[in-house]
Symmetry: C2
Subunit: 491 residues, 2 copies
Amino acid sequence: MSKKLPKRNENYSEWYQELVIQADLAEHSAVSGCMVIKPYGYGIWERMQQILDQKFKETGHQNAYFPLFIPKSFLSKEAQHVDGFAKECAVVTHHRLKNDPNGKGVIVDPDAKLEEELIVRPTSETIIWHTYKKWIQSYRDLPLLINQWANVVRWEMRTRLFLRTTEFLWQEGHTAHATQEEAIAEAKQMLEVYADFVENTLSIPVIKGVKTENERFAGALETYCIEAMMQDGKALQAGTSHFLGQNFAKAFDVQYLNKNNQLEYVWATSWGVSTRLMGALIMSHSDDDGLILPPNLAPIQIVFIPIYKTNEEYAEVMDKLESIADLLKSEGFRVKIDNDDSKRPGWKFAEWELKGVPLRFSLGPKDLKNHQIEVFRRDTKEKSFIPIENIVSNYISMLLNDIQKNLFNIAQNRLKERTIYVDSYQEFKNSLDNDCFVMAHWDGTTETELLIKEETKATIRCIPLDSPFEEGKCVKTGKPSQRRVLFARAY
Amino acid sequence: MSKKLPKRNENYSEWYQELVIQADLAEHSAVSGCMVIKPYGYGIWERMQQILDQKFKETGHQNAYFPLFIPKSFLSKEAQHVDGFAKECAVVTHHRLKNDPNGKGVIVDPDAKLEEELIVRPTSETIIWHTYKKWIQSYRDLPLLINQWANVVRWEMRTRLFLRTTEFLWQEGHTAHATQEEAIAEAKQMLEVYADFVENTLSIPVIKGVKTENERFAGALETYCIEAMMQDGKALQAGTSHFLGQNFAKAFDVQYLNKNNQLEYVWATSWGVSTRLMGALIMSHSDDDGLILPPNLAPIQIVFIPIYKTNEEYAEVMDKLESIADLLKSEGFRVKIDNDDSKRPGWKFAEWELKGVPLRFSLGPKDLKNHQIEVFRRDTKEKSFIPIENIVSNYISMLLNDIQKNLFNIAQNRLKERTIYVDSYQEFKNSLDNDCFVMAHWDGTTETELLIKEETKATIRCIPLDSPFEEGKCVKTGKPSQRRVLFARAY
């Protein structure tokens, strides 16, 4: 831990950037727009992967791996898709370097130009549907339920660690179905899987909805999404699940023989979450002292810190801490003893607060004598002394669950308090400026949506699934509307 | 399962290729040289990842993630490294496509040329050591023990699924140490981790050794390796661990303050295994009926197949199979019931033999009456009937362990029988032509090594770590030699 973080209310963006770097989550690399995910940050991402992967497998999906490269011509096959994705991407044009004849170093070998350029995948629908054509002949081959964990590249000029990087890590599910109903059910199911994960593992409440036509994924008929509110009142899209209709099946000619021996085009979905979730996590819960991790996610749930002066005291204190830590470890808790002798306890306290570990237990010779241990909760910053014999599985579970819930409740209250129902454009703008989400009527046209975006920088985050029927008038045009939609400024 | 595999002794290479495809392990993709790893194949790779990852963590390593792209200039920084790696690689030269003004499709936007080309990583030493410069200041920052699971690209003209592909998946460990001794100890430790994994999980015996200067990794001072014998007598390098000395530390100026407050260059290792291990696995154990998986690795250890004619029989048989499968699952075995009604039992038998599942249990109404179940071992092809009540954890464990050991023993015997100690060049060539490994004296020069390679296509696979001191004469030149080295033709 090198220095104090900037304060959120003074410079939120600086605070975020510094927190990511100081808490050892990630940093900028030598390659413009690409990040290095550091071991502590990667450990959190690995936890996300494990938990999501299990949920995917429980819902019948299998993992596979498709090529990093996509032939340029594939991108043109689905007309809307090419418009959405083919622009800012990494293009491989050559396959060889050679020694620079003028001296040192290497140059691109002009003789090794590729006949067709390859694109580093920005998403894999095209290469996957090209493959599915070989895999799908009959209704017996359906549904095909596949997921891929991969790196993808979308060239970005202005990047922010985790939130927007040229290369990022994600998972992309790609499923094929015999009927429209089944594909829609799959897209909705995966939205629920994401919502459940984000709410119960990351402790972040989300609004489930569908995107407007303008905000839809390129090539989708419907994009389901979950939207979360960050502490600065901005929205962050935490996951999307797309019903792709038969668009990719038609573009790549993927048909199957149905039970009546007739050829039909296959119905598709795709769905993904990415390392962006790391950004959502940080901006939902953290404070001016650093990260705050929900216990269900945290790679380290409890850190133990020995307090001592003499070698004898160290031995006594460590003996006790090790026996407690071993017990909790054997019961499945993720624990760490920080016995680094080169750092003082105060330094360690600050370091593990910065890194967001939910619980800190510290023990010194005096505590030992009093049969007590000091417990510090990262979320509330409460310190208390409790009898050592109370440190048992039930108590720890209760405490961790309480932290998990408390983080969710804080974020949930923020979301409720700062979601404003407005009926005039002035209120609309005021609410945005007060860092709020806005539920407002909209006339349903892309034209109005874009006009509002231009004037206020707010976009329609989604049409919430639970937004009830309600007669009203568009805040901008006064034209009739039948339900409110969610507007916000967004990451 | 579509058709019979070619026979190994008729066309080994065809047999391999067809097995990979028919057993649903992998297939060629639309992108030249890149493969699609299918769900069943990827499931095996995931098992490899899980087991290795745990071993890496147990030996103190953490995962992290570094960029996919490497600036071209980085490759030139370590002189030997650039010669070894900078040639056949994917070069990104542009970052944008645009609509073709002449009509349909997209073209590379000439205005989006990168100032410096980016190379898709063929291995990550350079980008990682560039990063380590920021992470390492003092002896307190050492050792730095990091691993990355990633995709890498080395352009290949002639590819073979899993064995040689332009893109492949791997892990690469990159560690930094204060002393030479510690770095060498790390490189050796990771060789042992690999050997243990390949021998005890994959059931493949290996020869541990060091590479000759000529066969060393570009930039390494010593390359440790494990070599395995395939059924056709060819060698396959199953893993390498490199002691890199201070080469990368010097190239990227990574120094640390030692305890005496003096600056020293850091010592390095790197080590990796890849999806090539899938090739080693297939070519060690499989037969003309398909894959044979060692039980410790197999994603499915036991497949259950119901035999029935009527719905009533189906219900009875399934009832029993489900209760057995549930029991075994709860005890940690990986099981699957194949109750696909559209396939006949004979088809399923062949299918799961092709896919290498170690044990198959089939149960019909007659068996139920006789309180027995048919057990089929994939390795020996033995069928036997055993009392249903014998299907308990201990029995299954014993059976699976026996298969695991049997596969190892078969491969071990092959390796022993077909490793020939020769003292003349004629014997040397004969033994190679008889699909054997050859232990022979060599004069220690790269010149002789290359001459032998030219004349026989055999390379020095390694200088085995356990090769004893022995006075002798080089099989090719007659010059003095002090130990035998391992020659073989190789994948």
